[in-house]
Subunit: 297 residues, 2 copies
């Protein structure tokens, strides 16, 4: 997905959020926005939003002096999600359709974004999913939820590349991955993380913190962006993109990075921004599961 | 009210909206944002948002080549509002509390902002107000609605300065002004417009188009901003601000311009942005009537 004009004001909102997260003074916060403004004329509308985000967060890092202003938020997300992990796994194991429930749980975890209202959203979302299982997410939020196509793709796959998105959410991914490995014992799954900290995206540190390495192989995409933009990934990771039978792409950033490619990508995401809603197309709030390139018209 | 950091991303959203309104190409739209970005480092956070808006819309005018990209939208707003004017006036005259209903109608007109969804909002809003009269606007949207203080101020006033906000909304203002002149026959009311076109704000042309000049004296504030910022108004208008017994300030832009002053200002507005909601403080969507300086703590 290419940049939309609306991504530019959003850049400034992200700057405000990150500057406050870093506890800068009001003057320091304004300086972050001034520096972001200097980027705007250099932004190519042919780039994808995660590519531009690399520049945006470089500016934020320079101005805040913090390599990872979201470190504490990420740790807290992981801990909160781990607290509900045993219950999630127990429910999935007891479900009449474990795949359906595990997919919904994994997508529900995608509501953890930018560290806002983590605890409240998480709790509400998990109750909603677990208490009513597959019927929990109302039909109108699942207009684009092609579970049967996903089931077929899983049956045919040997090598699955699962590209993670955010801290906290990674625990929900672990529930889905454990379920996949139980239902499809012959597949190999690799879980990919970002190459360095950006926003609240998963890195190797998060994968180790939530025990993902005890479930499947964890690989570093090399991407410094909040999305696995192929051109920004390591050569080794690009080979994995090319050889995987099935790529599970979590969240908006990976959708933005991979939706224009020919890889066999299934997107699992919660629609949280109007630009993405228009691009898919879907509605704000939708819980989506779809084959990416099948969406291109 | 001073600038908040959140006003900066909002500037860019306004730029996108105006550039599309002017039917610029995607490249032209991006050029508007590039030019706005150059403004950011020069923005003082001690200025009020309407002062900055003057600079923002100067850039938009230069880039679009249009003095008034909202001219057609404004005409349409006025015509749509005039179509319901006779019915509004009839209902107010037949109401048990004409002042209360006329005030609510005037504030409901403040939903006409930036020309978005004019027809739908207008129709819904007017039905809601007229069909159920004073009870129409739910209690929780009127947390800050001090009608009794406004009634007292009206009883004590001789010279009222009514500062208009948007095209279309001006017809709703006319209903309130006619009601005030009937209930308080000894008062003099002057209706103030902006000094030049900016966004969809009222100018002399709108006042004449809706017959405001047949109801009361129409005065030019001289303000080039979307708010009567005293320093940007004409000396003649500043004298009116100083001599009025009561200033009726419509909308967010005038609130931003006048809320820090000592003038006897009553604000009538619909809260449409989270920054204003935090500043008043009130909630998004609230229908507000309050004495401005009484809100300062």
């Amino acid at each position: 997905m290419r940049m939309y004009l609306e991504c530019i004001p959003c850049m400034f909102n992200q700057g405000i959020f990150a500057a406050r997260q870093a506890e800068l003074s009001p003057e320091g916060q304004k300086e972050v926005l001034d520096a972001l403004a200097c980027l705007v004329p250099r932004i190519s509308m042919k780039a994808s939003p995660p590519e531009i985000a690399v520049e945006v967060y470089r500016v934020i890092r320079e101005k805040t002096g913090l390599v990872d202003p979201f470190a504490a938020v990420k740790r807290e997300s992981n801990e909160n999600a781990l607290a509900v992990y045993p219950e999630m796994l127990r429910r999935v194991k007891g479900s009449v359709d474990p795949l359906s429930l595990a997919v919904q749980i994994a997508i529900s975890g995608n509501i953890i974004d930018y560290g806002a209202n983590i605890r409240i959203d998480l709790k509400e979302e998990i109750c909603r999913i677990l208490d009513e299982e597959a019927s929990a997410i109302a039909g109108e939020e699942k207009r684009l939820f092609d579970l049967e196509a996903f089931r077929s793709a899983l049956s045919a796959a040997r090598e699955i590349l699962y590209i993670g998105d955010n801290a906290g959410e990674i625990v929900f991914d672990r529930v889905l991955i454990e379920t996949l490995l139980r239902l499809y014992p012959d597949v190999t799954i690799r879980y990919a993380v970002r190459g360095e900290p950006i926003i609240n995206d998963v890195t190797l540190e998060d994968a180790l913190a939530v025990g993902m390495d005890r479930v499947c192989e964890v690989v570093d995409s090399g991407s410094p962006a909040p999305g696995a933009v192929p051109a920004l990934c390591s050569p080794a990771f690009r080979r994995l993109l090319e050889t995987a039978d099935l790529i599970i792409s979590k969240g908006q950033g990976n959708y933005e990075a991979l939706s224009g490619t020919d890889y066999p990508v299934f997107c699992l995401l919660r629609v949280k921004c109007p630009v993405i809603a228009a691009d898919i197309p879907a509605h704000l709030g939708d819980v989506c599961l779809f084959r990416a390139e099948a969406r291109k018209v």
